[in-house]
C-alpha cells in the first residue's frame, strides 16, 4: 500500500478487503470472522493474515471443512446478537451451504415476522481467468440473485470494495459479498482513508459515452473499460456502467444511460441463460423498449458447466477485451 495523499491510499482489492475487515474488527466487538483457514493461515489469499494474533482465536475462527455449518453457525450468531462475517473459501464451495443461505438466512426475518434477524456477511472469491479449473472458477451470482431476503454485491474497484463492504457489514440483513479473484492483485486504485460507506443498489458510470451503454460487473468492468477506450481512439463513444450491486440493482442509472445511447450491451462472465443479463434485458424490454435503436445484446459465458483447466478451455470460456471491443463496434454501427 502506498500513501499518495493525506486523504487516500493506493491499494489492490485484497488490501482493500483486508483493511476494511481489520477496521470492522477494531470498531465492533460483536464482529467475528468465521471460515476455513482464516486463522493461522490468514486466508488462502492472505486477506486475514495476522488477524488471529491481534484479535484472538475466538474472533478469527478456523472452522472444520464444513461449509453448510460455516454459514449456519454464522446465522445462529447473528440471531443471537453477534455480527459475523462468514467466509466461503472459494465460491465454488458454496453449494453445500445453499440451503443455509437460501432456505435459512434469507428467510429468518420473514418467517419470524421480524422477531429474529440475520445481520451477516458471506464473503467469497469467485470468477475465472486464474487457471482455477472447474471448481475454483465459477460465478455463482445467478443462483442467488433470484432469492428475496438476500442482498448481493460484486464490486470491481478497491474504493468500492471498501465502501460496499462497510455497508454490507452494517446492513441488518444477510449480504453475499462477491470478490473477483482475478481482480484481487491485478486491480489497484486509490482508496479514501477513514470510514465511509457506499449505498447498495447504486451503479457507477465508470466511463461516459454517447453511442452505446455497456453494463457489467466484476473483472469484466475492467476489460470492458479497456475495450471502450480502444474504441474511443477509433472515434466511437461507449458508456460503461459498473453495477457494483446485483441485488438490489440500479434501474435508474441503466435507463438514464439508455435515454442517451439507445443501445444496450450486457457483458458478464457467468453463463448467459438465466443470468443477470436476462433480468436486465427483461427490465429494459418492460420499461424502455421504445428507447432502443438496436436489439439488446448479451456477451456472456457459454452454456457449459464451467471453464476447463487447460489454457485453451479457459480462454474459450472467458470473453477477451478484443471480443468485447468487437461486440461494441458491431453494436455502435448497427
Amino acid at each position: 500500500m502506498a500513501v499518495v495523499s493525506a486523504n487516500s491510499t493506493v491499494m489492490n482489492n485484497v488490501e482493500a478487503v483486508r483493511a476494511t475487515l481489520y477496521e470492522a474488527l477494531k470498531a465492533d466487538d460483536r464482529t467475528v470472522i468465521i471460515g476455513e483457514d482464516v486463522g493461522a493461515r490468514g486466508n488462502v489469499f492472505l486477506i486475514t493474515k495476522d488477524f488471529v494474533k491481534e484479535f484472538g482465536e475466538h474472533r478469527i475462527i478456523d472452522t472444520p471443512i464444513a461449509e453448510a455449518s460455516i454459514v449456519g453457525i454464522a446465522i445462529g450468531m447473528a440471531m443471537e446478537g453477534l455480527r459475523p462475517i462468514a467466509e466461503i473459501q472459494f465460491a465454488d464451495f458454496i453449494y453445500p451451504s445453499f440451503n443455509q443461505i437460501v432456505g435459512e438466512a434469507a428467510k429468518t426475518r420473514y418467517r419470524s415476522n421480524g422477531e429474529y434477524t440475520c445481520p451477516m456477511v458471506i464473503r467469497t472469491p469467485y470468477g475465472g481467468g486464474v487457471r482455477g479449473a472447474l471448481s475454483h472458477s465459477v460465478s455463482i451470482e445467478a443462483l442467488f440473485y433470484h432469492v428475496p431476503g438476500l442482498k448481493i454485491v460484486a464490486p470491481s474497484f478497491p474504493a468500492d470494495v471498501k465502501g460496499l463492504l462497510n455497508t454490507a457489514i452494517d446492513d441488518p440483513d444477510p449480504v453475499l459479498f462477491l470478490e473477483h479473484k482475478k481482480t484481487y492483485r491485478l486491480i489497484k486504485g486509490e482508496v479514501p482513508n477513514g470510514h465511509y460507506t457506499i449505498p447498495l443498489g447504486k451503479a457507477n458510470v465508470v466511463k461516459e459515452g454517447t453511442q452505446l451503454t455497456v453494463v457489467s460487473y466484476g473483472l469484466y468492468v475492467h476489460w470492458a473499460l479497456e475495450a471502450a477506450r480502444q474504441l474511443e481512439e477509433e472515434g466511437l463513444s461507449v458508456e460503461v456502467i459498473d453495477l457494483r450491486s446485483i441485488r438490489p440493482m440500479d434501474k435508474t442509472t441503466i435507463l438514464g444511460s439508455l435515454e442517451k445511447t439507445h443501445k444496450l450491451l450486457i457483458i458478464h462472465e457467468d453463463n448467459k441463460f438465466g443470468g443477470i443479463g436476462a433480468e436486465i434485458s427483461a427490465m429494459v424490454a418492460e420499461e424502455a423498449l421504445f428507447a432502443l435503436d438496436a436489439p439488446i445484446r448479451r456477451l456472456c459465458g457459454p452454456d457449459v458447466p464451467a471453464m476447463g483447466y487447460a489454457m485453451p478451455l479457459e480462454e474459450e470460456f472467458m470473453s477477451s477485451p478484443a471480443e468485447m471491443a468487437e461486440a461494441m463496434r458491431e453494436m455502435v454501427k448497427f
Binding site: 472444520p64 455449518s69 435459512e104 419470524s112 422477531e115 429474529y116 442482498k151 443498489g201
Partner: protein, 342 residues
C-alpha cells in the same frame, strides 16, 4: 387400583418437588389435549394441517423442567409442542399458530408447530431438518463468546434428523469449541415412514457421542423424571462450562407424521396398539397417584382445567383476524428494498 403391596417403593424424584411433578403432568395432559385439538380442527375443515407429538409428552415435559426460563435458549424442531409449552408458550399462542392468525409470533407465515418467540428464548426454525442445529451452535458460541455464565442452548431433533450432514457438523463443532450446548434426540423410531433400521445400522444414537469426544447418555423418554435428570445433568454441565452432551430419549410416535400422512401404509395398527400399552400419560398418572402426589380428584380437576383452557384458547384464537394480504410484503428486509432500485 387396590394394591396388595405392603410398601410403595420410594419415588426417585431427582430433586423435583410435588409442585414440579404436578406441573410436568399437567404439561403432558395439555400436550395431549392440544394435539387432539389440532387434529380435530383439521378434520372439521377449519385448518389445513396439523402435527402431533403424542408419545413425546413425558420426554418433553421432563426436559422442559430442566430449562431455565429467561436464561437458556431452546432450538427445537416441529414435534416439540410440550417443550415449547414447558418453557412458557401458552395454549393461546399454540392455537394462534394452528389457526395461522396475524397475532401468531410468525404472523401466520409458518406451518403449525414452527413456534418462535424471542422473549421466551425460542429460536425461529424452518421445516428443513437439521438446518436449525448450526443456528443453535452459533447461539451457543455467542453465549460463550460473551462470557455469559449459567446459560446454555438446548437443541432438539428426532431420530430422522440425525442422518443429516448438519447434525454431524454441529456435533463436531460444539465439541471442538466446548460450547454450552445439549443435543437432545427424541428417538420415536420413525422418520415419517422410514423405520430406524433403514435409517442407521447402529440404532443407539447416543453412542455417537464417543466419536465426538463428548459425554452421551440414553434414557427412557416415557419417564419424565428420568428425562429431567438426564437433561438437567447435561444442561448444568453446559452452563458450568463443561461443554456439550448428547442425550437420547427413547419414545414412540403414536400418531401419523401429520394430518396428511396415513401411517397404516407402513406400519400396522397392532404394532401401534402394542406400544400404546406403555403410553407415558396414564403411566405417569399412576406413579403420581401411587405416591400420593395427586389424588383422583386432582387428576379430574387437571383434566377439566386443561380442556377448559384449550377450549378458551381455541375460541379466542379462532376469533382473531387473519393477516392482511398486504402482510405478505413485510419483513423481507429491514426497510422497503426492492430488487430494482430506482
Amino acid at each position: 387400583m387396590a394394591s396388595t403391596d405392603v410398601s410403595t417403593p420410594t419415588l426417585q424424584r431427582h430433586g423435583l418437588s410435588d409442585e414440579q411433578l404436578r406441573a410436568i403432568f399437567r404439561n403432558m395432559l395439555l400436550q395431549r389435549q392440544l394435539d387432539n385439538r389440532g387434529f380435530q380442527l383439521n378434520r372439521q375443515g377449519k385448518v389445513p394441517f396439523a402435527l402431533g407429538s403424542e408419545g413425546h409428552e413425558a420426554l418433553q415435559a421432563g426436559a422442559a423442567m430442566a430449562f431455565n426460563r429467561g436464561r437458556d435458549i431452546l432450538a427445537p424442531y416441529y414435534r416439540d409442542l410440550g417443550l415449547c409449552l414447558g418453557i412458557g408458550l401458552s395454549p393461546y399462542e399454540i392455537l394462534l399458530s394452528i389457526f395461522a392468525r396475524a397475532a401468531d409470533h410468525n404472523g401466520g407465515r409458518q406451518f403449525p408447530n414452527h413456534y418462535s418467540s424471542k422473549a421466551a428464548g425460542l429460536m425461529s426454525f424452518s421445516s428443513i431438518l437439521a438446518a436449525h442445529l448450526p443456528h443453535a451452535v452459533g447461539a451457543a458460541y455467542a453465549i460463550k463468546y460473551r462470557g455469559e455464565k449459567g446459560r446454555a442452548v438446548l437443541a432438539t431433533c428426532g431420530d430422522g434428523t440425525t442422518s443429516e450432514g448438519e447434525w454431524h457438523e454441529s456435533m463436531n463443532f460444539v465439541s471442538v469449541h466446548k460450547l454450552p450446548f445439549v443435543m437432545l434426540v427424541e428417538n420415536n423410531e420413525w422418520a415419517i415412514s422410514t423405520p430406524l433400521d433403514k435409517q442407521m445400522a447402529e440404532p443407539q444414537i447416543w453412542k455417537r457421542a464417543a466419536g465426538y469426544g463428548m459425554p452421551g447418555r440414553r434414557f427412557n423418554g416415557f419417564d419424565p423424571i428420568e428425562t429431567y435428570a438426564a437433561v438437567k445433568e447435561a444442561m448444568d454441565r453446559a452452563r458450568d462450562g463443561g461443554g456439550p452432551t448428547l442425550v437420547e430419549g427413547t419414545c414412540y410416535r403414536y400418531l401419523a407424521h401429520s394430518t396428511d400422512d396415513n401411517d397404516m401404509t407402513y406400519r400396522t395398527r397392532e404394532a401401534v396398539t402394542e406400544r400404546r400399552k406403555q403410553d407415558p400419560v396414564p403411566a405417569f398418572e399412576a406413579v403420581l397417584l401411587e405416591h400420593g402426589i395427586v389424588s383422583s380428584a386432582d387428576v379430574n380437576e387437571m383434566r377439566q382445567s386443561v380442556l377448559r383452557e384449550t377450549n378458551e384458547a381455541t375460541d379466542t384464537a379462532e376469533a382473531q383476524p387473519y393477516p392482511e394480504p398486504s402482510d405478505l410484503y413485510t419483513h423481507v428486509y429491514e426497510g422497503a428494498w426492492q430488487p430494482w432500485q430506482s
